[in-house]
């Protein structure tokens, strides 16, 4: 079982000390060990249950709960006055097999990877390099987390390719404490994962009508297990 530690605090700060900002409780969750739970998907689903437990706990206490990555954003956006969760240890990643793709998938399966939210850009780049791939663009430093980058729309863009959020073709979100509250989102017009694979993520699939993209982006899939940020969905632009 994934393991969470918490620390009572009065304040929290970003990497560059843009705060301090008020905070009551800081959580960090570590994945179950590989030796105890060898299958990555098992660890992935296991930690999702743990995050749901924390959401429930915060909800019962009448307090807010916010995920953060590397705290590199130089303002208040990552802070929450009640409870915050450090995601850095949630850094599983795996290539997607062709057999796990949707029958109408148009992406090259070798370009599709599942990355958990706490992977830093450096970890993403290393995983991709091990598979003979790379991100098309990158920024200067690489300690940001994937989820931090996607939710703030940062880290490297060029004339012909956008920043990290543009690599995402599907999102796996935890939106609440109940079994139905883990969802997988992807555009109906460009499905990537098979329903059977999505089921192994214990997720409810939502294929939505996306606005047409102004440009076809061939780069592969990054699916991220996100923490429960209800507002997040409105920030995702396809």
């Amino acid at each position: 079982m994934a393991n969470t530690k918490s620390k009572l605090l009065t304040e929290w700060d970003t990497l560059h000390n843009n705060g301090p900002f008020p905070l009551k409780l800081l959580y960090q969750t570590k994945l179950e060990g590989e030796r105890e739970m060898p299958k990555k998907l098992d660890r992935y689903n296991d930690v999702a249950l743990e995050i749901q437990r924390l959401i429930r706990e915060s909800h019962h206490a009448g307090e807010g709960f916010r995920a953060y990555g590397s705290a590199w954003s130089m303002n208040t956006i990552a802070s929450h006055k009640d409870r915050m969760h450090f995601n850095g240890f949630m850094n599983l990643s795996m290539p997607i097999r062709a057999a796990d793709c949707h029958p109408n998938n148009t992406y090259d399966p070798t370009n599709l990877f599942l990355f958990e939210c706490g992977n830093t850009i450096k970890e993403v780049s290393e995983t991709l390099a091990e598979n003979g791939k790379s991100l098309k663009t990158t920024g200067a430093s690489s300690g940001q987390t994937l989820a931090g980058c996607v939710s703030t729309g940062v880290h490297g863009s060029a004339l012909d390719s956008g920043s990290v959020q543009d690599y995402v073709v599907g999102l796996n979100l935890i939106i609440g404490p109940n079994p139905n509250d883990i969802v997988y989102l992807e555009p109906k017009s460009k499905p990537a994962l098979s329903d059977a694979f999505i089921q192994t993520l214990n997720s409810r699939v939502i294929r939505f009508q996306a606005k047409p993209m102004h440009k076809e982006r061939a780069i592969g899939l990054i699916i991220i297990k996100y923490l429960s940020i209800h507002t997040l969905m409105s920030r995702i632009v396809w």
Binding site: K5, K7, L15, L26, Q28, K30, L31, S70, A71, F86, G88, F89, N91, T120, K122, E123, E126, G143
Partner: protein
């Protein structure tokens, strides 16, 4: 010019002290240091899970090395090193000199790979 032996000695001592105190740090270009969001360090290791070894080891005249095993523990879950810093201090040099090399001060900081 008036020559004060005590100030001269103190000056010499502080020069020795300052020049013998230094750190050497090795850092992987690959990999990521294990983070520690609960840490309140404000130095180079901010936000990292640092293990500090500050001990004295016994080395006999003939053996020239010492192996310190890095074990998997909470601050080093992967058991693999990402950053290691060795610090040399004046006290350490002094201890080495007065024990004829039998006792060595070991001051090391290391940060493991993020699991």
């Amino acid at each position: 010019m008036h020559y004060d032996p005590i100030s001269y000695f103190l000056l010499l001592l502080s020069v020795c002290f300052l020049t013998s105190c230094y750190s050497v740090r090795l850092r992987n270009v690959n990999g990521t240091p294990q983070p520690d969001p609960f840490s309140d360090r404000d130095d180079y290791y901010r936000g990292m899970a640092v293990v500090e070894v500050d001990t004295t080891i016994g080395i006999n005249m003939t053996s020239k090395d010492f192996t310190y095993l890095i074990k998997e523990k909470e601050a080093c879950e992967s058991g693999k090193i990402n950053i290691i810093e060795y610090r040399s201090t004046f006290g350490g040099l002094l201890l080495n000199a007065i024990t004829f090399g039998k006792k060595r001060k070991v001051k090391i900081k290391y940060v493991c790979e993020k699991p």
